[in-house]
């Protein structure tokens, strides 16, 4: 009798424990809270808005399909205004007050670099969909992921094509005076020189600059046969229109290898002057895979513009976070981080995974603007 009683209580405890364990491992009640830090005001507002479009579309898709294991994804969006200090304050708010499982952001590399310390201190995964500065994944911060290519990867792929194949060997750089601009110019200069090319002129500008005549005038007097622009939509549209005003289009090929200009707003601002710009992009709307075609059609239907790589990155990164939470089966940020590092993802861009430095491994397409369309001329070219 006595033995039976002990057995029963042991079973009881075991049953309770196993139930309890199950309850701890599964997702807690309530929504999966995901933070987003993007510039929604200032000169990057347009570009940041595109990424946000992608994020929102992905989250609506996930929720419409039943959410993450039955839990809805809820977004907490903060404005970084393209200012690193504001981005840090936004990140602090998201991890401190909103208790999010992961943060998507920022747009500019300077903002992302500033937020990385908060990610490490608060042990919250931070995944940037856009920032290109190579430094971000070189600092050994395991809490930070880059859900897109780095400017170094783009530089390797693009110079292979431009310098080695197309014999564009005298480069001039016009870059935005930020971590992204300076980091990218360094990365590209090195690769151009490695392949036997020459860098004849380098100049930086402040974000939101309007008058580029001083630079264009110097450029005209240089021996460059290729101009490499590193910046964002609005600034670069001014560079391109002033470049044409000075009549340089016959002498110099414009290249936008980080494809800051490959979006509908740029075409609207630059019109025919956009023709002939060569770039590299991990994504354009003309990629013909089932996932890409579905994404392009859905996006076009929802926003009435074709998607570009900013929207694609927002879309992919939001899906990656949701998959990571699902695989971790937990909202514990450390488990989400581990799951994110191990993710095998397939999106509109193609198959992708993170390397040991949390850098996404993807290829590049070489693209040229022709009559307001982005045509793929080569690719995908892998960096290695």
């Amino acid at each position: 009798m006595r033995g039976k009683g002990i057995l029963r209580s042991v079973l009881c405890v075991a049953a309770m424990l196993s139930l309890g364990c199950a309850a701890w491992a599964a997702l807690p009640d309530g929504n999966v809270r995901v933070g987003v830090v993007m510039p929604t005001s200032g000169t990057l507002a347009y570009d940041g808005g595109l990424t946000l479009n992608g994020v929102k579309m992905a989250v609506d898709e996930i929720n419409a399909a039943g959410g993450v294991s039955g839990h809805k994804v809820e977004l907490f969006i903060e404005d970084s205004a393209g200012v690193p200090a504001t981005a840090v304050a936004a990140m602090e708010k998201l991890v401190g007050m909103q208790k999010v499982v992961a943060v998507i952001g920022d747009f500019g590399s300077s903002g992302t670099l500033a937020m990385m310390d908060v990610a490490k201190r608060s042990q919250t995964p931070l995944i940037t969909p856009i920032s290109l500065a190579p430094k971000i994944t070189e600092l050994g911060n395991i809490w930070t992921f880059r859900g897109c290519d780095s400017s170094e990867m783009i530089a390797k792929s693009f110079t292979k094509w431009a310098v080695a194949e197309k014999k564009l060997d005298k480069w001039a750089f016009i870059g935005v005076n930020t971590d992204y601009g300076r980091g990218s110019v360094d990365a590209f200069s090195k690769k151009v020189k490695d392949l036997g090319g020459e860098v004849v002129y380098t100049e930086y500008f402040q974000q939101g600059e309007t008058d580029y005549y001083p630079i264009i005038t110097k450029l005209k007097a240089s021996s460059a046969n290729a101009l490499c622009m590193l910046g964002e939509t609005v600034d670069l549209s001014r560079v391109v229109s002033q470049f044409h005003e000075m009549g340089l289009q016959e002498k110099i090929t414009i290249m936008d290898p980080t494809s800051g200009t490959f979006n509908p707003k740029f075409l609207e601002l630059a019109k025919a002057k956009a023709n002939g710009i060569i770039g590299a992009s991990r994504f354009v709307a003309s990629i013909k895979t089932p996932k890409a075609e579905k994404f392009v059609a859905d996006y076009q239907k929802r926003y009435n513009i074709p998607p570009e790589k900013y929207a694609q990155a927002g879309y992919d990164v939001a899906h990656m976070v949701a998959i990571a939470v699902k695989n971790a089966d937990s909202t514990d940020t450390a488990k989400v981080r581990e799951a994110l590092a191990k993710i095998e993802y397939e999106g509109p861009q193609g198959k992708a995974h993170f390397d040991a430095k949390n850098q996404l491994q993807i290829g590049e397409y070489i693209i040229v603007v022709k009559d307001g369309k982005f045509e793929i001329v080569a690719g995908p070219i892998m960096a290695e």
Binding site: S41, Y46, N177, T210, D211, P214, I215, V234, E245, M246
Partner: protein, 289 residues
């Protein structure tokens, strides 16, 4: 090298002409009402939007749109003077500084709310015509900017020198009480001053909107630069302000072209510091009073 220098100088002069239009209005307001109008950059921004919308909404071409923007901003400038600045004329400068700063923020954010942050371009249709002379390069659009701004400045100088109203404006700026005693309607002069300044700012905004872009945040950096210009050129002095505006345009263009473009916004301020060190009485000398 000489060609590069001349081309940079030409670019700088065109830039300077735009600055002159904005700074002259600011300087007139400062000289006559003795208020600092930090919202002047927003006059310039609103003027540009007015031209943009008259082209897209009414379908008029560039020059009529320029005229509509000037008239429209003239009226809005007069209304703002009557409603906002009139009550604080004669009060310490800090009142107008704080008030206009608030007005500037309010107008810029109102524009952001109504028109959105996306920059838009005014199509003058002249940017595709290229002129080449002695190895220098100029688009018809930039030539138009040069011609229109020089014409407006000459018109303003003539107005102030030769018309009855212009003389009354000068009288008010020299001594408000004496002018009032001589039978000048000082309040009317205030309104006219704001109307002229608003119209000049709108002209500048429209031309900048054609050369570059129209966006709600375009006004702020310009107004700071124009305060440097009127500090350099002398408050309320037409000739001094024009010289200073062209100097600032040249400093940006030549400094940006030959030293480093990344720091081009620093050159006007360096110029101001240098001037205060070497010639503290200002560019044109003397206090003018």
């Amino acid at each position: 090298m000489l060609m590069v220098f001349l081309q940079q100088a030409l670019n700088g002069i065109i830039l300077g002409c735009i600055y002159a239009l904005i700074a002259l209005g600011l300087s007139l307001i400062f000289g006559i009402l003795e208020v600092a109008n930090f919202a002047h950059g927003e006059f310039y921004m609103l003027g540009a939007f007015m031209a943009l919308f008259s082209m897209s909404g009414l379908g008029v071409s560039f020059f009529p749109a320029l005229l509509i923007a000037m008239i429209g901003m003239g009226i809005i400038g007069a209304l703002i003077e009557r409603a906002v600045f009139r009550p604080i004329v004669g009060k310490p400068l800090i009142n107008s500084m704080l008030l206009s700063f608030g007005l500037s923020t309010a107008l810029a954010n109102l524009a952001l709310l109504l028109f959105g942050a996306d920059p838009q371009k005014i199509e003058s249709g002249l940017a595709d015509y290229h002129l080449r002379f002695f190895g220098l390069h100029l688009t018809a659009e930039r030539l138009m900017v040069l011609v229109v701004s020089v014409a407006l400045v000459i018109l303003l100088a003539w107005f102030i020198q030769s018309t009855r109203t212009g003389k009354a404006m000068r009288a008010v700026s020299q001594d408000r009480v004496a002018a009032q005693l001589a039978g000048i309607n000082v309040s009317r002069i205030y309104t006219i001053t704001f109307a002229i300044s608003g119209a000049l700012a709108a002209a500048a905004g429209t031309m900048v909107g054609a050369m570059f872009f129209v966006s709600p945040e375009m006004g702020f950096s310009v107004v700071l630069k124009c305060f440097i210009i009127i500090a350099l050129g002398g408050f309320g002095k037409i000739r001094g302000v024009i010289v200073a505006a062209v100097m600032i345009g040249l400093a940006e263009s030549l400094g940006g072209g030959f030293i480093s473009y990344a720091y081009k916004d620093a050159y006007p301020f360096l110029l101001l510091v240098l001037l205060f060190m070497l010639k503290p009485q200002g560019l044109t000398g003397g206090s003018g009073r």
